[in-house]
Symmetry: C2
Subunit: 251 residues, 2 copies
């Protein structure tokens, strides 16, 4: 017997970074082609910030956030979510565990970034990665780039300490002019190392870059926006699949 | 036997206006006194925009959004929400139905606005209300103001048609300079009518006002921000209540 398919509902796992989920939801709306409110993607979002820090778990063997993330996935599933997007780059370190133990398909932010790079014609050569130490150490961007034939360029330790981390701290301290200058310099250094594009793999750096125009802005890929675009493609796919599903039900 | 109290979890009923829930969540973070990520308010948000238009239901007897709103409340409740905030002014027209049929306490945006007015020392006299025709016709702001001894001043039909509605349309069309000018004029007209403050009772007008500085900005009350502040008070109340609850459990 055919089962009536569940209505597509995007589950958003947030709570990792106070504004990360709201930022993702804003970009999701911006990336959705819509002529009326009802065209937008239905979602349920879990934003519970009482969860161990992700970088500390990856870098220093701190408490794992996995149990709380799984609790979030369970709540999203119970609310009817049929697919999940994680509004945090670093948290994708646990992507495979979450898929295996959470029981829902989960889009991967690094796949979404690779798809956006391919859309821009970048399918070989070097790509820069700008992120926190945790996101870099997690390694999944590098692995996914390698699987697509892309070489990953990272900031030097000195650039990480003098440009990337201070840029992120300046965004958190609302000093956007300073953050912009530091982030632009960090991107420029990666472009000088032969990167064709630079992936902004934390939620703060796009805010820093977008604060003002600069020669490097067009060379940046916002990973959160790439994930939003992947969600739009998922949603378009469910709409195309729906008539077939209905057809099956009548057979 | 005492039951272990559920962890406080804010349910956010969104999906009414593509950006309304993300806007509310951003203001919730901004209004929360926090020194680290874990201090922020845990929430689950329902953002399903496949729901009949609220103004059409109120103004022209169109399809009621109540069943879909109740479905949202049910999903939030199942996910563990212990209180609800509705990220849409006009939707508060159905507040009492939602409380009665949804089975969860729901903060009221107009009470939140009255509390913020009182904080600013406004407990008598005239208060302006700037909103869509639906929010104005719904009448709950006027009723709540009256219950607190405040007189409500509304825009004239001409001002509504020539200033308020065009300002909202200009925000939706991303023409913020035009939106700002129109909204400032609409607020100024209400202040000229003797209003001590003007409540911005739709999600677009705060965007228009905040676009630039003006002599009227400080006289405006953003209803969404007032609701966010009410959520912060609710959350602080649950933290103060917690030790007592624990005490009861040990008796």
């Amino acid at each position: 017997m055919n089962k009536i398919p569940a209505s597509p509902l995007l589950g958003v796992l947030g709570g990792m970074g106070p504004l990360a989920a709201a930022d993702f939801l804003t970009k999701l709306v911006a990336e959705t082609p819509a002529t009326r409110d009802q065209d937008h993607i239905p979602y349920v979002a879990w934003g519970v910030p009482q969860i161990p820090e992700r970088p500390a778990a990856i870098l220093h063997g701190g408490a794992s956030p996995l149990p709380q993330m799984l609790r979030g996935i369970a709540a999203l599933k119970q609310a009817g979510a049929t697919v999940v997007a994680i509004a945090c780059n670093t948290a994708h370190y646990w992507h495979d565990d979450l898929v295996r133990e959470g029981g829902l398909p989960i889009l991967h932010i690094a796949d979404a970034v690779c798809d956006l790079l391919a859309e821009r014609g970048i399918t070989a050569g070097r790509v820069g990665l700008l992120g926190t130490d945790g996101a870099v150490k997690a390694g999944f961007f590098q692995q996914r780039f390698a699987a697509r034939g892309l070489d990953c360029v990272l900031s030097s330790r000195a650039d990480q300490d003098q440009l990337v981390l201070p840029a992120i701290a300046a965004v958190k301290a609302h000093d956007l002019p300073r953050a912009h200058g530091l982030a632009v310099d960090a991107v420029a250094r990666l472009l000088d190392s032969g990167a064709q594009a630079v992936v902004l793999a934390c939620t703060e750096t796009p805010v820093a870059i977008d604060y003002a125009d600069s020669p490097v802005n067009a060379r940046c890929i916002d990973a959160t926006r790439a994930l939003a675009r992947a969600c739009v493609r998922w949603h378009q796919g469910t709409k195309q699949a729906a008539p077939l599903e209905r057809l099956k039900l009548t057979q």
